[in-house]
């Protein structure tokens, strides 16, 4: 499994809860390393063990942890946020283009293959997102990503990510002042 996924979880736990917690997590998961390189690959079963160990160490449900991790990935990683903004001019464009996201990600990182994402629009302008990530809590992770992107676009939304069924997103019209402009005249790499 792609190291980007592991290093995201690592950065999320280290930044949010501290290195001591991450050391405890990798110990609990009996991981062979506590530092994950974003461009290398690791055993898939190790991710499951790390998520489980994070849940045990923090005493939080894995769905709550994964939704926070999804939000963290966007909020903390300017380059990911910036790249995802290419998907659409507005948050609604972004939402409707979510079915292109796996291909977009594959374009950026050829070895990072994600299962397909289904988008069904509703008459009220909202959308339902279907994604079988292949791991328990994947929907919540995606919900966290969408929540942070809505924030970046300055869109007022409510997001419901139930344990079963699609992620439901309702748009409430207004564009908040906190919106970040997608300035393509800058470069992502320093």
């Amino acid at each position: 499994m792609h190291g980007l996924i592991f290093s995201t979880l690592e950065r999320f736990v280290v930044t949010t809860y501290g290195e001591g917690v991450w050391d405890a997590v990798t110990l609990e998961a009996e991981a062979p390393t506590s530092t994950f390189e974003p461009m290398l690959h690791y055993e898939s079963s190790l991710l499951e063990a790390l998520i489980e160990a994070t849940s045990i160490t923090l005493g939080k449900s894995r769905t709550a942890i994964l939704e926070d991790a999804g939000t963290f990935l966007i909020a903390d990683t300017e380059c990911v946020r910036y790249l995802l903004r290419f998907a659409g001019q507005t948050f609604r464009d972004f939402l409707l283009a979510l079915d292109e996201l796996p291909e977009r990600i594959r374009l950026a990182v050829p070895s990072l293959v994600l299962p397909p994402i289904g988008v069904v629009t509703r008459d009220d302008g909202g959308a339902e997102i279907y994604w079988d990530a292949g791991f328990n809590g994947g929907q919540q992770f995606l919900a966290g990503v969408i929540r942070a992107m809505a924030d970046d676009y300055g869109a007022l939304v409510t997001i419901d990510a139930p344990r079963a069924g699609p992620v439901r997103i309702s748009l409430h019209g207004a564009v908040l002042l906190s919106a970040t402009e997608h300035d393509i005249s800058r470069s992502v790499a320093p």
Binding site: E37, P38, M39, C79, Y82, L83, F86, Q89, R104, L107, A108, V109, I184, S185, S187, V188, A189, P190
Partner: protein, 329 residues
């Protein structure tokens, strides 16, 4: 035959231009207008330079070559060249020219502050920008991994050549010294062996023995210059290589200071040692292994005279140094 409204043409090809049969610009699509400013009525060839396969040309000439791909750049300003297709619209009807930024898309978008709505939704310009940025981010990530690996490699290399206890070089560092010294050139090789090390280990324990070794390394380090090699070759044996040093009186002083500092009553880690020195003079040819063997023979000569002695061998001459404060032979 289909007739298109200007609005439809603007939406389909926001970077198009219509030029009349006299070579004057009649109108331009909205994105092109943003790049060039309003050039309506201007003579095309005065505003733009066209470069075709055979060199610079004019829009009239282009109209005779159907639908060929050419480069077009603005005569004024620093805008990157654009890719263009020139299509005659029919007898006396002028030309339609469609432009794109081609592979210069990033520079162009940056220079002119263009946004995704400035391009047709089917245009992949923005996907290309995404790819460029994603590629830059991935390269950046690889570079950082490369830097981390390089730093780790340098650390590992240094550690592999370093004796963990004393911080001096180990036997692996010796090879680097061999390579650096070659077969010729003035150099001195100094071997130091502690006289009573086994006794210290046996009577005061291994921790005390380690202290003596660490202190010996410190004494040697104080005596050496930055270009000298200092190696702990094993147990209680130390090797120093001093490039450019051959003078017996200088070596005598160095050996003397080392032995007297080692045997200091102020230190709990005091010890006595013996020294053998071999010298390769300018013009002589001899490999480092042979020099070390001669220094070892000199060391043996020192030992046979009792503790705290130093002996120097230059080629075929062996003589005792007046080292150590103890009587020399």
């Amino acid at each position: 035959m289909i007739a298109l409204d200007h609005e439809v043409l603007d939406a389909l090809c926001p970077m198009h231009m219509v030029v009349d049969e006299d070579g004057r610009i009649v109108r331009a699509g909205p994105t092109l207008a943003q790049v060039t400013g309003d050039q309506t009525g201007a003579v095309f060839d005065e505003v733009f330079r066209i470069t075709a396969r055979h060199g610079e040309t004019t829009v009239m000439e282009m109209s005779r070559v159907a639908s060929s791909r050419v480069r077009i750049s603005l005569r004024e300003g620093e805008a990157p060249p654009m890719r263009a297709q020139v299509l005659p619209l029919g007898p006396k009807a002028g030309f339609l020219i469609n432009l794109s930024f081609g592979i210069n898309v990033k520079d162009a978008v940056q220079s002119f502050g263009l946004k995704s709505e400035d391009f047709s939704p089917v245009d992949t310009t923005f996907d290309m920008l995404f790819l460029i940025e994603a590629n830059a981010a991935a390269m950046h990530a690889w570079t950082r991994i490369g830097e981390r690996l390089q730093a780790a490699r340098v650390t590992a290399e240094v550690e592999a050549k370093t004796d963990a206890l004393t911080g001096l070089g180990n036997r692996r560092a010796l090879q680097a010294a061999f390579d650096a010294m070659g077969e010729t050139g003035p150099v001195a090789v100094l071997l130091l062996d502690l006289d009573n090390f086994k006794h210290i280990n046996d009577s005061r324990g291994h921790a005390a023995g380690d202290d003596v070794l660490v202190r010996t390394a410190e004494v040697l380090r104080k005596e050496m210059r930055s270009e000298d090699y200092l190696i702990r070759t094993g147990g209680d044996e130390f090797l120093a290589i001093l490039p450019g040093v051959t003078d017996a009186s200088v070596l005598d002083k160095i050996a003397g200071r080392i032995l007297s500092r080692l045997n200091s009553e102020e230190s709990e880690s005091s010890a006595t040692g013996s020294i053998g020195v071999a010298v390769r003079s300018p013009g002589e040819s001899e490999g480092l292994p042979s020099l070390i063997a001669r220094a070892d023979a000199a060391l043996y000569a020192s030992k046979s005279q009792g503790p705290g002695r130093a002996t120097l061998t230059s080629h075929h001459h062996i003589h005792a140094l007046s080292a150590s404060g103890q009587a020399s032979a």
